[in-house]
């Protein structure tokens, strides 16, 4: 099969972006977009459809198995992890890769997502004293702890922008996790920060729900975190379904 791969490229933040199209031949339809990028970058003789040499495409990756969030990018317009996109999904063999749009481009598909970490710092996401976990909601703590900080949820969020005061689901999940075990001394400050940076800005579109590459049940965590931080109720116990 021939994959027609188009990459939105940009040498540096100061350079103009341009599209480069590469014809990539493979018989391995179980290959991921991440592996395809690795193979293209490992081939110094690679040329584009206009016969120009393809310089190494800048992108970030690490685990290649959906557990680290490094390789988030727009694939045919949808933010997702390159290691989670099999070539077999693209029946027409046309793939467009673009950097995430809500973060500043560093080069090609690499964007600077440091705002994610800065927002968690502003929210004071840490335990100032020992955690006081509620065993009944351990499943919620677990689910929230799985957040990859990849940024896909923010890309589709109609309310998030990188310099705004609303921090989006990537900020909400860590807060929701803390709220399941927060010592009394931190509660008020966290509740205030939660209202200011999460609750008030969220339009409940839940666009984040379908996009999360880790499949985190963000709606349930949102409901429970709202209950704990805004309505000051104990989170509801999750009903475990043994067959799922």
């Amino acid at each position: 099969m021939t994959v027609t791969l188009t990459v939105l490229r940009q040498a540096s933040p100061d350079d103009a972006p341009y599209r480069q199209t590469i014809l990539f031949e493979t018989d391995d339809m179980q290959m991921t977009v991440a592996s395809m990028l690795q193979k293209i970058n490992a081939d110094p003789a690679c040329t584009d459809t206009e016969g120009r040499a393809v310089t190494p495409i800048r992108w970030e990756c690490s685990c290649l198995q959906k557990k680290c969030g490094a390789c988030a990018m727009r694939i045919n317009g949808r933010p997702r992890l390159a290691c989670d996109a099999l070539l077999s999904e693209f029946r027409r063999g046309r793939i467009l890769l673009e950097p995430l749009r809500k973060f500043p481009v560093v080069a090609d598909l690499t964007v600077d997502r440091s705002i994610l970490m800065q927002n968690l710092m502003r929210m004071q996401i840490w335990f100032a004293e020992d955690a006081e976990p509620d065993e009944a909601v351990r499943g919620l703590t677990y689910d929230a702890s799985r957040c990859l900080q990849c940024g896909c949820c923010l890309e589709v969020c109609p309310n998030f922008c990188a310099d705004g005061k609303f921090y989006g689901m990537a900020g909400l999940l860590p807060a929701a996790r803390l709220l399941t075990a927060l010592p009394e001394s931190q509660k008020e400050a966290m509740q205030q920060a939660y209202r200011k940076h999460l609750y008030e800005g969220c339009g409940k579109s839940l666009a984040c729900h379908d996009i999360c590459p880790a499949g985190i049940p963000v709606d349930r965590l949102l409901v429970n975190a709202n209950a704990a931080a805004v309505w000051k109720r104990r989170p509801r116990r999750r009903r475990e379904k043994p067959d799922e």
Partner: protein, 530 residues
């Protein structure tokens, strides 16, 4: 002022940074990507500590004995003593940081893991590493806010800065976003992970662990220990671009290995090792898999049968493993057996350190998978995260006690030869040569052949600095495997199938003038280090 430079923000790097910060000592934490992307998030099955919550009369002494036995007598006993005695305290600390370990009625649950008769492995389904990292990133953030941990994200380590007396003065790093190269002075703690990049696509690790940092410091004269000791994990599956781990927890919870023999399922581990069965140490299981595939009447594929696990086990303990196998293999392990194969998973060898985590040069420390410590010739499942946490803490404590005021007293070299990356085709050629020599079963002929191929490859090209370093480190691994003329743990020699007491020593390899030398150094006695 004392300065501390930590290279790598995975589990060992975070542990070191937090340890320093708790003592009010500021540090710089360099990493290519944020901690959320570190290989530690991939650790699955759990972390060992003799907490004895399952009331099986477990103790740190038994944890010590199992670790030393699992490591086939090659682990530093004093270091392992510290590791196993501090393990319960480390686990309790993680609980206080909010790690959602599996609990039942207020009791921290422990599971069975390979090479250990007692339940000793604390876990959070099969994402234990991710859970621990999430909690420790919070902990580090607290100290970042307090100005004690200063992160240098998207920074690549290039090399050590050495004084004329070969002591370590600092590091040279490059900001991958801006391209800026800078020198930083202070005590250096290398926490840069295993050498996965020597075997691209063939390990369960991450692409960030390129092996370049290890190769660079090896070329600078930092001695490495036991580089021939590669852990092949018995149960991995091939996915696009890598080997994907099927956690040992799957066997801990009741998974069984079998191969088709004369038309029937042969549960070979249970027959060959009635006591521990499928939970023998990883080196033994991997070797038996290799053997049964070649035995008469057997099919070429070993399977892991998880179909007997209860619905509750899947939901409560292994849900993420099942999701992963369905996503990447379109195979539901609850309904059909998983075809598995041995894959490179862990590097027991690495930068040689003493029990206090001092590396071979003054002012240099190493911890985590990049260091050769705790695991001897074979690592027990559940000991890697423990080793990273305890190792990072110990390295930081030693550095804090020994550090001098940092002075930029090292002549700064202006040109930087390590900027040009290694040719990706050469990286694959070196990988294939290493694989030909460093398989599960090795012998003199294949190792000599691999060394010969490596020498020819090296002679046939004009290599850049990174390529030379990689060739040199690869040569050292092969040379070490050649000269260890015995079988021990992960190192199995078909031509020397027995262990030889004369080789119960650490292999120490050194790079001198671009060539590797090998010597065997007796293990330290307990209580030897100061």
């Amino acid at each position: 002022m004392k300065r501390f430079l930590i290279i790598g923000a995975g589990l060992s790097g975070l542990s070191a940074a937090i340890t320093l910060a708790e003592r009010g000592l500021p540090c710089a934490l360099f990493s290519l990507q944020p901690s959320e992307r570190a290989q530690s998030v991939l650790a699955e099955g759990g972390i060992n500590a003799a907490l004895n919550t399952m009331h099986e009369d477990d103790s740190p002494a038994e944890h010590f004995a199992d670790t030393v036995r699992g490591g086939c007598g090659l682990a530093d006993p004093e270091a392992v003593r510290g590791l196993t005695e501090h393990a319960p305290e480390i686990l309790r600390r993680l609980e206080r940081c909010g790690v959602p370990f599996h609990m039942q009625n207020g009791t921290l649950m422990l599971r069975n893991f390979g090479g250990q008769k007692k339940k000793r492995t604390a876990y959070a389904r099969s994402s234990t590493g991710k859970m621990i990292m999430t909690a420790l990133i919070d902990e580090a953030r607290k100290y970042e806010a307090a100005g004690l941990i200063h992160r240098f994200p998207h920074h690549e380590f290039l090399r050590l800065l050495l004084r004329a007396d070969k002591s370590c003065a600092g590091v040279r790093c490059r900001d991958c976003y801006t391209g800026e190269i800078r020198d930083y002075f202070g005590a250096v703690l290398l926490c840069c992970g295993g050498m996965n990049g020597l075997f691209p696509e063939m390990t369960t690790g991450t692409t960030q662990n390129s092996g370049d940092a290890a190769a660079a410091v090896f070329m600078q004269g930092v001695p490495f220990g036991n580089p021939e000791m590669l852990q092949y994990h018995p149960t991995t599956v091939g996915i696009s671009g890598k080997r994907c781990l099927v956690s040992e927890a799957a066997r801990g919870e009741g998974g069984r290995l079998f191969i088709e023999k004369n038309g029937a399922r042969w549960y070979f581990m249970e027959e060959l090792y009635p006591e521990l069965g499928n939970l023998m140490p990883r080196d033994v299981v991997a070797r038996e898999m290799f053997r049964v595939r070649q035995s008469p009447g057997c099919g070429g594929q070993v399977y892991l049968d998880l179909t007997g696990l209860s619905a509750e086990t899947w939901a409560q303990k292994l849900s993420d493993l099942r999701e992963e196998l369905i996503a990447y293999l379109s195979l539901d392990p609850k309904r059909e057996p998983v075809p598995v194969k041995e894959g490179i998973h862990y590097f027991m060898g690495g930068i040689a350190v003493d029990a206090k985590h001092r590396a071979g040069l003054r002012g240099l420390y190493a911890a985590g998978e990049c260091a050769c410590q705790y695991h001897g010739a074979n690592r027990l499942g559940g000991n890697s995260m423990l080793g990273a946490l305890y190792g990072g803490k110990t390295a930081a404590e030693t550095a804090a006690a020994e550090a001098q005021d940092a002075e930029p007293d090292c002549p700064v070299q202006e040109d930087e030869p390590l900027l040009t990356p290694a040719d990706p085709r050469l990286i694959l050629q070196i990988r294939d040569i290493l694989l030909s020599g460093l398989g599960i079963v090795r012998d003199e002929t294949t190792l000599q052949g691999a060394l010969q191929s490596l020498a020819e490859l090296s002679a046939a090209r004009e290599s850049n600095a990174r390529e030379k370093a990689r060739l040199c480190l690869a040569g050292a691994m092969l040379q070490a495997a050649l000269e260890r003329r015995e079988s021990r743990g992960a190192h199995y020699r078909a031509d020397f199938p027995q262990s030889d007491e004369a080789y119960r020593k650490t292999t120490v390899v050194c790079c001198e003038n671009g060539a590797a030398s090998v010597k065997f150094v007796p293990l330290p006695e307990e209580g030897a280090s100061v």
